[in-house]
Protein backbone atom coordinates (compact mmCIF):
# COMPACT_ATOMS: atom_id res chain seq x y z
CA UNK A 1 0.00 0.00 0.00
CA UNK A 2 1.28 3.46 -0.79
CA UNK A 3 0.94 6.54 1.37
CA UNK A 4 -2.46 7.57 0.03
CA UNK A 5 -3.89 4.12 0.76
CA UNK A 6 -2.32 4.22 4.22
CA UNK A 7 -3.97 7.57 4.93
CA UNK A 8 -7.33 6.23 3.75
CA UNK A 9 -6.85 3.19 5.97
CA UNK A 10 -6.17 5.41 8.98
CA UNK A 11 -9.25 7.55 8.29
CA UNK A 12 -11.50 4.50 8.01
CA UNK A 13 -9.90 2.84 11.04
CA UNK A 14 -10.37 6.04 13.04
CA UNK A 15 -14.03 6.13 12.02
CA UNK A 16 -14.42 2.52 13.19
CA UNK A 17 -12.76 3.12 16.56
CA UNK A 18 -14.38 6.50 17.24
CA UNK A 19 -17.78 5.16 16.19
CA UNK A 20 -17.42 2.17 18.50
CA UNK A 21 -16.21 4.34 21.37
CA UNK A 22 -19.02 6.86 20.98
CA UNK A 23 -21.54 4.05 20.66
CA UNK A 24 -20.54 2.89 24.12
CA UNK A 25 -20.25 6.29 25.80
CA UNK A 26 -22.92 8.44 24.14
CA UNK A 27 -25.73 9.20 26.52
CA UNK A 28 -28.65 8.99 24.11
CA UNK A 29 -29.24 5.46 22.92
CA UNK A 30 -30.42 6.54 19.47
CA UNK A 31 -27.15 8.38 18.81
CA UNK A 32 -25.39 5.33 20.15
CA UNK A 33 -27.00 3.23 17.42
CA UNK A 34 -25.99 5.78 14.78
CA UNK A 35 -22.36 5.75 15.95
CA UNK A 36 -22.40 1.95 15.93
CA UNK A 37 -23.71 2.12 12.37
CA UNK A 38 -20.74 4.31 11.45
CA UNK A 39 -18.40 1.77 13.00
CA UNK A 40 -20.00 -1.18 11.16
CA UNK A 41 -19.79 0.65 7.84
CA UNK A 42 -16.13 1.46 8.46
CA UNK A 43 -15.38 -2.21 9.22
CA UNK A 44 -17.19 -3.16 6.02
CA UNK A 45 -14.95 -0.77 4.08
CA UNK A 46 -11.92 -2.37 5.71
CA UNK A 47 -13.03 -5.74 4.35
CA UNK A 48 -12.94 -4.18 0.89
CA UNK A 49 -9.45 -2.89 1.68
CA UNK A 50 -8.47 -6.46 2.55
CA UNK A 51 -9.64 -7.56 -0.92
CA UNK A 52 -12.61 -9.42 0.58
CA UNK A 53 -15.61 -7.90 -1.24
CA UNK A 54 -17.92 -10.79 -0.35
CA UNK A 55 -17.43 -10.24 3.36
CA UNK A 56 -17.61 -6.49 2.88
CA UNK A 57 -21.01 -6.67 1.24
CA UNK A 58 -22.34 -9.02 3.93
CA UNK A 59 -20.99 -6.72 6.64
CA UNK A 60 -22.61 -3.65 5.08
CA UNK A 61 -25.94 -5.34 4.44
CA UNK A 62 -26.33 -7.58 7.48
CA UNK A 63 -24.36 -5.99 10.31
CA UNK A 64 -24.51 -2.42 9.01
CA UNK A 65 -28.00 -1.80 7.72
CA UNK A 66 -29.86 -4.85 9.08
CA UNK A 67 -28.70 -4.56 12.66
CA UNK A 68 -29.18 -0.79 12.70
CA UNK A 69 -32.78 -1.12 11.54
CA UNK A 70 -33.33 -3.78 14.22
CA UNK A 71 -31.89 -1.53 16.93
CA UNK A 72 -33.91 1.48 15.77
CA UNK A 73 -37.11 -0.55 15.87
CA UNK A 74 -36.17 -1.82 19.33
CA UNK A 75 -35.73 1.78 20.51
CA UNK A 76 -39.04 2.73 18.96
CA UNK A 77 -40.79 -0.14 20.75
CA UNK A 78 -39.19 0.52 24.13
CA UNK A 79 -39.37 4.25 23.67
CA UNK A 80 -40.00 5.80 27.05
CA UNK A 81 -38.10 9.03 27.34
CA UNK A 82 -36.37 8.18 30.61
CA UNK A 83 -35.01 4.97 29.09
CA UNK A 84 -33.83 6.51 25.86
CA UNK A 85 -31.80 9.04 27.85
CA UNK A 86 -30.78 6.74 30.68
CA UNK A 87 -27.61 6.87 32.80
CA UNK A 88 -25.14 4.55 31.14
CA UNK A 89 -22.30 3.86 33.53
CA UNK A 90 -21.20 3.27 37.08
CA UNK A 91 -18.25 5.57 37.56
CA UNK A 92 -15.89 3.46 39.74
CA UNK A 93 -16.51 0.39 37.65
CA UNK A 94 -15.88 2.44 34.49
CA UNK A 95 -12.48 3.71 35.60
CA UNK A 96 -11.36 0.29 36.83
CA UNK A 97 -12.49 -1.31 33.57
CA UNK A 98 -10.62 1.28 31.48
CA UNK A 99 -7.41 0.70 33.44
CA UNK A 100 -7.80 -3.06 33.16
CA UNK A 101 -8.47 -2.95 29.46
CA UNK A 102 -5.48 -0.66 28.85
CA UNK A 103 -3.29 -3.19 30.63
CA UNK A 104 -4.85 -5.99 28.60
CA UNK A 105 -4.17 -4.05 25.40
CA UNK A 106 -0.52 -3.69 26.34
CA UNK A 107 -0.18 -7.37 27.11
CA UNK A 108 -1.86 -8.42 23.88
CA UNK A 109 0.22 -5.94 21.86
CA UNK A 110 3.35 -7.54 23.31
CA UNK A 111 1.89 -10.91 22.45
CA UNK A 112 1.54 -9.91 18.81
CA UNK A 113 5.24 -8.91 18.85
CA UNK A 114 5.16 -5.31 17.68
CA UNK A 115 6.55 -4.79 14.25
CA UNK A 116 6.97 -8.37 13.19
CA UNK A 117 4.37 -7.99 10.47
CA UNK A 118 5.34 -4.46 9.45
CA UNK A 119 6.52 -5.25 5.96
CA UNK A 120 3.74 -7.67 5.13
CA UNK A 121 1.19 -6.96 2.49
CA UNK A 122 -1.50 -9.03 0.91
CA UNK A 123 0.01 -9.60 -2.50
CA UNK A 124 3.36 -10.72 -1.07
CA UNK A 125 1.81 -13.16 1.36
CA UNK A 126 -0.51 -14.79 -1.14
CA UNK A 127 1.89 -14.62 -4.10
CA UNK A 128 -0.38 -12.14 -5.82
CA UNK A 129 -3.40 -14.45 -5.84
CA UNK A 130 -6.52 -12.73 -4.52
CA UNK A 131 -9.63 -14.95 -4.23
CA UNK A 132 -12.41 -13.65 -6.47
CA UNK A 133 -16.04 -13.38 -5.46
CA UNK A 134 -16.89 -16.01 -8.06
CA UNK A 135 -14.41 -18.47 -6.57
CA UNK A 136 -15.73 -17.87 -3.08
CA UNK A 137 -19.31 -18.38 -4.25
CA UNK A 138 -18.34 -21.64 -5.93
CA UNK A 139 -16.59 -22.82 -2.77
CA UNK A 140 -19.54 -21.75 -0.63
CA UNK A 141 -22.15 -23.54 -2.71
CA UNK A 142 -20.08 -26.68 -3.38
CA UNK A 143 -17.53 -27.52 -0.67
CA UNK A 144 -19.43 -25.71 2.06
CA UNK A 145 -22.94 -26.29 0.72
CA UNK A 146 -24.22 -28.22 3.72
CA UNK A 147 -23.20 -25.68 6.39
CA UNK A 148 -24.39 -22.87 4.13
CA UNK A 149 -27.85 -24.42 3.81
CA UNK A 150 -27.86 -25.30 7.51
CA UNK A 151 -27.04 -21.74 8.55
CA UNK A 152 -29.73 -20.45 6.18
CA UNK A 153 -32.31 -22.73 7.77
CA UNK A 154 -31.05 -21.71 11.20
CA UNK A 155 -31.48 -18.07 10.26
CA UNK A 156 -35.03 -18.76 9.08
CA UNK A 157 -35.81 -20.61 12.32
CA UNK A 158 -34.51 -17.69 14.34
CA UNK A 159 -36.65 -15.21 12.41
CA UNK A 160 -39.68 -17.37 13.23
CA UNK A 161 -38.48 -17.68 16.83
CA UNK A 162 -38.16 -13.89 17.00
CA UNK A 163 -41.87 -13.62 16.31
CA UNK A 164 -42.70 -16.38 18.76
CA UNK A 165 -40.68 -14.80 21.57
CA UNK A 166 -42.28 -11.42 20.93
CA UNK A 167 -45.75 -12.89 21.08
CA UNK A 168 -45.10 -14.80 24.33
CA UNK A 169 -46.44 -13.59 27.64
CA UNK A 170 -43.98 -14.28 30.47
CA UNK A 171 -46.25 -14.10 33.49
CA UNK A 172 -46.68 -10.85 35.38
CA UNK A 173 -47.98 -7.93 33.41
CA UNK A 174 -50.72 -8.80 30.88
Amino acid sequence: MDKLQAIIFYIVALAAVVGAFRAVFTRKIFYSVLYAFMSFIAVGLLFFALELPYLGVVQLALCGVGMTVLFVFAIALTGKKDEIISPIVHRPRTYLSIIGLLLLTGILACFFRVGSFMSDNIAQTTNGVIPSTKAISAELFMSYGAPFVFSGLFFLAVILGFGVILSMKIGGKK
Partner: protein
Amino acid sequence: MDFLFNIGMYHFLLLGLFLFLIGLLGTIISKNLLRILISLEIMFCGITLNLATFSVYSDGTHFKGEILALFVMVMVSVHIAVGVAIMLNIHGFKGTVDVEEIGELKG
Protein backbone atom coordinates in the same frame (compact mmCIF):
# COMPACT_ATOMS: atom_id res chain seq x y z
CA MET B 1 7.63 6.01 9.44
CA ASP B 2 7.89 2.78 7.54
CA PHE B 3 5.61 1.15 10.07
CA LEU B 4 3.07 3.95 9.72
CA PHE B 5 2.78 3.92 5.94
CA ASN B 6 3.31 0.24 5.21
CA ILE B 7 -0.10 -1.13 6.19
CA GLY B 8 0.05 -4.81 7.00
CA MET B 9 -1.44 -7.57 9.04
CA TYR B 10 -0.45 -6.00 12.32
CA HIS B 11 -2.51 -2.85 11.67
CA PHE B 12 -5.67 -4.78 10.96
CA LEU B 13 -5.13 -7.03 13.97
CA LEU B 14 -4.59 -4.04 16.21
CA LEU B 15 -7.76 -2.41 14.92
CA GLY B 16 -9.71 -5.61 15.54
CA LEU B 17 -8.24 -5.73 19.04
CA PHE B 18 -9.33 -2.15 19.73
CA LEU B 19 -12.86 -2.86 18.52
CA PHE B 20 -13.02 -5.99 20.64
CA LEU B 21 -11.82 -4.16 23.76
CA ILE B 22 -14.19 -1.21 23.26
CA GLY B 23 -17.05 -3.66 22.86
CA LEU B 24 -15.93 -5.54 25.96
CA LEU B 25 -15.77 -2.28 27.89
CA GLY B 26 -19.29 -1.40 26.79
CA THR B 27 -20.56 -4.83 27.74
CA ILE B 28 -19.08 -4.51 31.22
CA ILE B 29 -20.12 -0.97 32.09
CA SER B 30 -23.43 -0.47 30.30
CA LYS B 31 -26.69 -0.53 32.17
CA ASN B 32 -28.99 -0.42 29.18
CA LEU B 33 -29.69 -3.83 27.66
CA LEU B 34 -29.80 -2.46 24.13
CA ARG B 35 -26.40 -0.81 24.59
CA ILE B 36 -25.00 -4.14 25.79
CA LEU B 37 -26.25 -5.76 22.58
CA ILE B 38 -24.66 -2.99 20.51
CA SER B 39 -21.40 -3.52 22.41
CA LEU B 40 -21.57 -7.26 21.71
CA GLU B 41 -22.03 -6.50 18.03
CA ILE B 42 -18.96 -4.25 18.10
CA MET B 43 -16.97 -7.02 19.79
CA PHE B 44 -17.97 -9.46 17.09
CA CYS B 45 -17.00 -6.91 14.42
CA GLY B 46 -13.49 -6.95 15.87
CA ILE B 47 -13.47 -10.75 15.92
CA THR B 48 -14.63 -10.96 12.31
CA LEU B 49 -12.01 -8.45 11.24
CA ASN B 50 -9.31 -10.55 12.89
CA LEU B 51 -10.61 -13.72 11.28
CA ALA B 52 -10.65 -12.08 7.86
CA THR B 53 -7.16 -10.67 8.37
CA PHE B 54 -5.74 -14.04 9.34
CA SER B 55 -7.57 -15.56 6.39
CA VAL B 56 -6.02 -13.14 3.92
CA TYR B 57 -2.49 -13.18 5.30
CA SER B 58 -2.11 -16.84 6.13
CA ASP B 59 -4.31 -18.68 3.67
CA GLY B 60 -5.09 -16.20 0.92
CA THR B 61 -5.63 -18.76 -1.80
CA HIS B 62 -8.09 -21.07 -0.05
CA PHE B 63 -10.27 -18.51 1.73
CA LYS B 64 -11.43 -20.95 4.40
CA GLY B 65 -11.13 -18.22 7.00
CA GLU B 66 -13.28 -15.90 4.93
CA ILE B 67 -16.08 -18.47 4.80
CA LEU B 68 -15.70 -19.04 8.54
CA ALA B 69 -15.98 -15.27 9.07
CA LEU B 70 -19.12 -15.26 6.93
CA PHE B 71 -20.73 -17.93 9.11
CA VAL B 72 -19.66 -16.09 12.25
CA MET B 73 -21.34 -12.93 10.93
CA VAL B 74 -24.60 -14.78 10.30
CA MET B 75 -24.52 -16.38 13.75
CA VAL B 76 -23.82 -13.04 15.41
CA SER B 77 -26.75 -11.43 13.63
CA VAL B 78 -28.94 -14.29 14.77
CA HIS B 79 -27.79 -13.92 18.37
CA ILE B 80 -28.38 -10.19 18.37
CA ALA B 81 -31.85 -10.65 16.84
CA VAL B 82 -32.76 -13.16 19.55
CA GLY B 83 -31.33 -10.80 22.17
CA VAL B 84 -33.45 -7.93 20.90
CA ALA B 85 -36.55 -10.15 20.92
CA ILE B 86 -35.88 -11.17 24.52
CA MET B 87 -35.19 -7.54 25.44
CA LEU B 88 -38.51 -6.42 23.97
CA ASN B 89 -40.27 -9.17 25.87
CA ILE B 90 -38.55 -8.19 29.11
CA HIS B 91 -39.55 -4.58 28.49
CA GLY B 92 -43.15 -5.67 28.07
CA PHE B 93 -42.92 -7.66 31.31
CA LYS B 94 -40.84 -5.39 33.55
CA GLY B 95 -41.36 -2.05 31.87
CA THR B 96 -37.62 -1.31 31.78
CA VAL B 97 -34.43 -2.35 29.99
CA ASP B 98 -32.08 -1.40 32.82
CA VAL B 99 -30.04 -4.51 33.66
CA GLU B 100 -29.87 -3.65 37.36
CA GLU B 101 -33.62 -3.52 37.62
CA ILE B 102 -34.15 -6.74 35.68
CA GLY B 103 -31.33 -8.58 37.39
CA GLU B 104 -33.49 -11.19 39.08
CA LEU B 105 -33.26 -14.69 37.68
CA LYS B 106 -36.22 -15.97 39.66
CA GLY B 107 -39.27 -16.01 37.44
